[in-house]
């Protein structure tokens, strides 16, 4: 499972409207999802696995689908329908789970730990719940052998190694591997092969279950964070007492007595 997101290194916020200026921002594949795809491709390298990439998004996510094929995926399906628009993490998980179900048999579902544009980390685990399968989250290393997935999970106080029978969903840590490059040969083949675009009918969901109508989250209010005023000042040693006084008066520093 992958998602196309605005390039976080290039996010430009319009200081007047406070909106994310998407005309200047380019769209890229969520970086943790690239690690998820790489983890899947490494298993494909060692077995005869078939890798299908699934995403939900607008038609412009085409570039991400082609990119995943160019890195080595066998098939790419984009769930794309105007009814899917405005979804929070609940119908997003539902839509992806339904898409995967419609594809048929699977052994392992890989997802990035979270996306860089909303950072919830909900969607992977949500899909596992909708499909009623086990899940391994925050995996840094994933191996497959004889119907079992062995994964290392990075925890705060150490590394946990778990072994789970398939089918299983694994969310993969950002930077846990080095995604392979797209080559010109693969990219040409990917463009020729093309990806599939599935609407709500093909996915098998009613319009009222998905998108903004299927989303339980209601955003009541959003406000921009007011930036604190900052200033730089150059003083010589003699000026320090005055500076301390000024900072004290402005409440920037305070004196604590014991």
């Amino acid at each position: 499972m992958v998602k196309q997101v605005p390039d976080s290194q290039e996010v430009v916020i319009d200081p007047v409207t406070m909106n994310l200026n998407r005309s200047l921002t380019r769209n890229v594949t969520n970086r943790a999802d690239e690690n998820a795809l790489e983890a899947a491709l490494q298993i494909k390298d060692r077995t005869d696995a078939h890798v299908t990439v699934v995403s939900m998004g607008p038609p412009q996510a085409e570039t991400t689908m082609i990119e995943c094929l160019a890195r080595g995926a066998d098939r790419a399906i984009l769930a794309s329908d105007r009814f899917f628009g405005g979804a929070d993490t609940y119908p997003t998980g539902l839509t992806l789970a339904a898409t995967i179900k419609a594809i048929g048999k699977f052994d392992i579902i890989f997802a990035g730990e979270e996306t860089s544009d909303s950072s919830t980390g909900h969607v992977g685990p949500g899909v596992a719940e909708f499909l009623g399968i086990d899940q391994i989250t925050y995996a840094s290393k994933v191996e497959y052998k004889d119907g079992f997935v062995t994964a290392e999970r990075e925890l705060e106080d150490g590394t946990e190694v778990v072994k789970v029978p398939t089918p299983v969903l694994v969310t993969v840590l950002l930077n846990s591997n080095v995604p392979r490059r797209q080559t010109l040969r693969r990219k040409i083949d990917a463009i020729r092969q093309g990806f599939e675009s599935w609407d709500h009918d093909k996915v098998g969901l009613q319009p009222e279950w998905v998108g903004v109508r299927g989303s339980p989250t209601i955003v009541r209010k959003m406000r921009p964070i007011k930036e604190k005023e900052r200033a730089a000042k150059k003083v010589d040693i003699a000026g320090i007492p005055d500076l301390v006084k000024e900072l004290y008066q402005k409440g920037v520093i305070k004196v604590e007595s014991d």
Partner: protein, 430 residues
């Protein structure tokens, strides 16, 4: 049997124009660009002169992402305290447009989209490593050890053509053939731009400056162009003089230009949106490589097509016209089923009769004059001190212009014979 008729390396104006031309005539074209999105690696000052796009996109003036048309053209000398300028404004440019300011990320993306619409396969984010050769002819391109075959490869790599250089098709850039360009884009807002540059509607300002106030003998030119709500400003630095002054950095020169009293007032309060640097092709007619060979053609900056005569800096228009001509040559070669050097020499013949080559030929040696001490030091100093002497009311009896100029000439450190000779050369070369 090759996989493609033609592979084009580089989706700048030259490469995309060639791809549009060929794909619209049914050729199987692959356009490869390392930047993603298209245009993100490309830099130019930003004025597209002329009407060359009309041949492949008839409605380009309506459909292309153009910023403003040039109505006001300034050619200026900047000294430490002064600006002496020719400020040419004409409503004639409103009826007959001569040039438009453009932002390359938008323009180049637009042209690549047009190529895809015409039927070319456009691949971005992938770098071609080298040319695939067999029996002394180009048979395709190589990426990550894999060969993609084509009957012909068009190299549109810009002024630092790695693939063409590695194959020995062009020489390495040297101090004479390239300069350094540094560019910033500042957001000012439409109204502020219109007020500061005395413009209305989508009329635009294009200024080119001789930066005569730089320390040492570093020669550099500045440019300032208005876009819809941003300005593009930058410098082009002569490589040879920069190298001689090891302590000078390109970004310092950019900073000094931006801080000049009569420039800073124009861009004050602007919000920096983009910064970039790039080689600028400066080679003359004598530096131009042969633009074709067995199974390949060179277009745009890679073939040496950019031009400056001191008044005007052009590149994109030649890039487009050379791309179209290479496209035409490929279409004819496809009909004959012959992509040998002999067959592709028709491209050179087309070029030889086009402004792209004729301008370079007719203005041979111009760069020696443009990058001369006369233009960069003596003339600005002479003009400044003469004008200052004439205009400052000292309360003393006035002197004749000739007397003032002779005195200024003496203080400029240039002898009158040199000035006469070089001035004559300048007039002839321009």
């Amino acid at each position: 049997m090759s996989e493609f008729d033609v592979i084009v390396v580089g989706a700048g104006p030259a490469g995309s124009s060639a791809a549009i031309k060929m794909a619209s005539q049914g050729l199987k074209v692959l356009l490869v660009e390392r930047g993603d999105p298209v245009g993100s690696k490309n830099v130019s000052g930003g004025i597209l002169w002329g009407n060359d796009l009309a041949a492949i996109i008839p409605d380009w003036e309506k459909s292309a992402p153009l910023e403003r048309y040039v109505e006001r053209k300034v050619t200026s000398f900047l000294t430490g305290d002064s600006e002496i300028a020719i400020d040419f404004k004409t409503k004639k440019f409103q009826e007959k447009k001569t040039g438009y300011s453009v932002l390359r990320t938008r323009l180049d993306s637009f042209l690549a989209r047009k190529a895809a619409q015409a039927g070319a396969m456009v691949v971005t984010g992938v770098t071609v490593d080298s040319l695939a050769m067999k029996d002394g002819r180009v048979i395709g391109v190589v990426n990550e050890g894999e060969t993609i075959t084509a009957d012909c490869v068009i190299l549109a790599e810009g002024p630092n053509p790695r693939v063409a250089m590695a194959a020995g098709l062009v020489g390495k850039p040297n101090d004479r053939t390239v300069g350094i360009g540094v560019k910033h884009v500042y957001k000012l807002g439409e109204n502020v731009i219109n007020e500061r540059f005395n413009l209305r509607g989508n009329a635009g300002f294009a200024g080119e400056y001789v930066l005569s106030f730089l320390e040492g003998d570093v020669y550099a030119g500045g440019f300032l162009y208005t876009n819809k709500d941003t300005v593009s400003m930058g410098v082009v630095i002569n490589m040879a003089t920069l190298r001689k002054n090891g302590n000078t950095h390109s970004f310092d020169i950019m900073e000094k230009f931006a801080q000049h009293p009569f420039i800073s007032s124009l861009v004050e309060g602007g919000q920096l949106q983009e910064y970039s640097a790039h080689f600028v092709y400066e080679g003359g007619y004598e530096d131009m490589p042969r633009a074709y060979g067995n199974g390949y053609m060179l277009v745009g900056d890679t073939a040496g097509f950019s031009f400056s005569n001191g008044m005007i800096l052009q590149g994109m228009n030649y890039a487009i016209s050379s791309g179209i001509l290479a496209g035409e040559a490929a279409i004819e070669a496809r009909k004959d089923n012959d992509f040998s050097a002999e067959s592709l020499s028709r491209y050179q013949k087309k070029l030889d009769n086009s402004p792209a080559v004729l301008d370079k030929k007719n203005f041979q040696g111009i760069s020696n004059v443009v990058w001369s001490p006369m233009v960069h030091r003596a003339i600005p100093a002479l003009l400044e001190s003469s004008l200052y002497s004439m205009l400052y009311e000292s309360g003393k009896p006035k002197k004749h212009l000739s007397q003032i100029m002779m005195k200024s000439l003496k203080s400029s450190g240039m002898n009158s014979k040199d000035l006469m000779v070089q001035g004559y050369r300048l007039m002839r070369r321009m």
